[in-house]
Symmetry: C2
Subunit: 455 residues, 2 copies
């Protein structure tokens, strides 16, 4: 058996995942709209031979702009720009199935897959905020089940569109003037509950066939969807035990759905804070936490817990009578994660805010590069992860520290690539290019026709 | 009065605007999905100091893939990639108001404006094909009037979103931890017939404020829309007289709408076929026409004329009993242009196909570089054009010929820039950055509040 290799994604966000990162002397508070900032980050990640970079997204302005960088460039156009200035690294963006039409979105991802030479991935989300709904003609957030039903059909349509050109459809025969073989275009011909899409995509089948499909929600609906469709899963777990349980659950669900569990990669988020010594790392983390404006963060926390800010006291634990996850509409798993973290470690609201400010519920790990590498191997070797979603607290310095100091250790131990061996994102993640089922259907139908004629 | 300067846009499409261009030995029939091809074209246009490059679009597969390159990358992601590999040239893409949501599209254009440093333009279309409607849950094409009513409101919402951040909204004050001034974010708060959009955009106001707004339809509804909103108009006229009439009509309509007519630039399309001698240019044009597969082109022509192909005879003129433009749903002005061209020059269907194959109804001009420059000046100086939409029959060679041989003549005569003098697309076209009306409204409201308090 060959050595199992780690997969690493860099989750890029403004000046870093710590909400106060923009206040450090090194940070440019205007970086969120600067493509040069993201191009620099993507190149650093590529220097470290990471599998991919990733941008989260929601089509609404989150909260207010008071205390932390808000607003960001739409991520699919950011990926397209980064494709032009990088050569190897995978490029993943979030896009919502609730607030897009499949023809438009399938087309954008297919286009980026072409222009990046097969490096695109789509983090499929259903978008759980009322703010977004109200930007798209709705007064209320559609409920969880109906959002996931739409997502299911959306993906079905998107796959039909990605497969609507046979890989062999383009002939380019200058002699006869035949550019394409019309028989090898398969219109979507989809008539479902949410979508009616008649035609073929107007983009030839892309290098990867389909973009890498990523999923990140951990609600019951989210896990069911991931087990059926996701090829990589970004997840947030705080403890080894939780992560092992999640990992085993996803792999079991994938197998039950008839999929190869090795084709569903689980990547927990980690916020590494790296220092020359453990004390230095802890001091950087503490400095960042001191820069959080507590009263402001309290408002955000109250919103996530569906409470009024007056119900929270900075120097006490969370109130006892919180709702159950089932009563929460949207961002269910985030809600439960926050409450579990606070209860387990008996954190005051102020302490909880510090923990959440660093990685919004993801695991924060402060230490030396060796310690970070050990923490990675512990989860990787103990059935909790196939790799990690790296969420630097500060960007670019936190990503540089990871790439220049942690990655060489992972490489020395033979568990991470020293050069890219493939050209596509699917190849980086060790995943196959999907066959085109439409072609088989078309061939079968043609064979039937010939047989009928022969009788 | 300073010398009036020409504006030049390069309209990029696959291997060129002539439908048989892909069959030339120099052409790569696979270029339509290759970003390197478009990057090369954009760099050639930038070498020629052109104002902009432009990509047309429709969210459907046009016709079949048999006889000419079909399918293309989604143009907003193409612009984003080109922004990363060019420095000066403007980047314009078509996008449909009928098959997009304003929040998504306003956001993508604002994002590309940021990442290009203020170089984006939007060609606003309502998309006149049944094929597209059937990709977006509709059984029929929405009628002309309702598409334009939606476009009108779409643009109104888009402007509210582009103006939803004050230019001064970001403070970036590390000392106090105040990143932004919440009072300087103005939610769209839009509740109309077609759209309800509550929030602010999640992208700060972009370098140009709004993208350059372009329009290209020449129906009555299209001209009315252009006069109200467009800053540049791509148009198709075959004769000087037609072009003068269109030009005068648009300028009059703009003035009647209270706009400065000089702020509405009219750019007729021209397909220049350039040779060392006139004979050489004509031979290149003839060679291209010989490569058209007539029977195939006949099917496309019949579709545009809403006829059955059997009603057309390659060696006769168009049938006498064609419908009137008013009876045509969608692409009205294209219909009339084709019929007028055929009737005026008494063309057989075969001859008409040759003329349309070159530029789909735009003016084709074959000659030496001097002759092309003269043809440009004739229209420019005679009240027919503020510049031109250059549509090379073959790409890249036709664009290279224009840039390297025609542009120097335009420059020598002092009518075209020799270096870029501005940094944004608006500056290239001599157009102002829009003020933010939301700011004035907010200030007035604040002043009223203070006065009321003072009483």
């Amino acid at each position: 058996m060959s050595t199992r290799r780690l997969h690493l994604n860099a989750f890029l966000m403004n000046t870093g995942h710590h909400e106060a990162s923009w206040r450090l002397p090194e940070s440019d508070p205007y970086s969120s709209t600067k493509i040069a900032h993201y191009a620099n980050l993507a190149r650093i990640a590529e220097r470290g031979k990471l599998d991919s970079v990733f941008f989260a997204d929601s089509p609404s302005l989150w909260g207010t702009i008071g205390r932390r960088p808000s607003g960001s460039l739409e991520p699919t156009v950011v990926l397209a720009a980064l494709a032009a200035v990088t050569e190897h690294i995978g490029l993943i963006a979030t896009a919502s199935t609730t607030y897009n039409e499949p023809y438009n979105l399938a087309r954008r991802f297919a286009s980026i897959d072409h222009l990046s030479g097969g490096r695109v991935g789509w983090n499929i989300v259903t978008t759980a905020t009322l703010d977004a709904a109200r930007n798209f003609n709705l007064a209320e957030l559609p409920d969880h089940a109906s959002r996931y039903a739409r997502a299911e059909e959306f993906l079905q349509v998107a796959k039909k569109l990605w497969d609507s050109w046979d890989d062999a459809a383009i002939l380019g025969d200058k002699e006869t003037g035949l550019w394409g073989d019309e028989r090898l275009v398969y219109p979507a011909d989809h008539a479902g509950e949410h979508f009616q899409v008649a035609g073929a995509l107007n983009v030839p089948r892309s290098p990867q066939g389909h973009p890498l499909l990523v999923q990140a929600g951990s609600s019951e609906d989210g896990k069911a969807f991931a087990a059926l469709h996701a090829e990589a899963i970004f997840t947030a777990q705080q403890t080894l035990q939780e992560a092992q349980a999640f990992y085993a659950d996803i792999k079991r669900r994938a197998a039950a759905a008839g999929r190869d569990p090795d084709g569903v990669l689980v990547l927990p988020g980690i916020v590494p804070v790296i220092g020359d010594t453990e004390a230095e790392a802890r001091e950087l983390e503490a400095e960042l936490d001191r820069l959080i404006v507590a009263e402001y963060a309290l408002g955000n926390l109250a919103k996530q817990l569906k409470l009024d800010p007056s119900e929270l006291d900075l120097d006490r634990e969370l109130p006892a009578n919180l709702p159950h996850e089932d009563e929460i509409e949207g961002a269910k798993s985030r809600f439960t994660l926050i409450v579990d973290l606070a209860r387990r470690e008996r954190l005051t609201v102020r302490q909880l805010i510090g923990r959440l400010g660093g990685g919004r519920g993801h695991r924060t790990f402060s230490g030396t590069a060796e310690q970070v590498a050990d923490a990675i191997f512990e989860w990787f070797d103990d059935g909790a992860a196939d790799g990690f979603n790296i969420m630097p607290a500060v960007l670019p310095s936190g990503l540089e520290a990871f790439v220049d100091r942690v990655v060489p250790i992972l490489q020395e131990r033979g568990r991470f690539r020293t050069e890219y061996t493939g050209t596509t994102l699917r190849e980086h993640y060790g995943l196959a290019r999907p066959e085109n089922p439409r072609r088989r259907e078309a061939l079968e139908s043609a064979v039937k026709g010939v047989l009928a004629h022969a009788r």
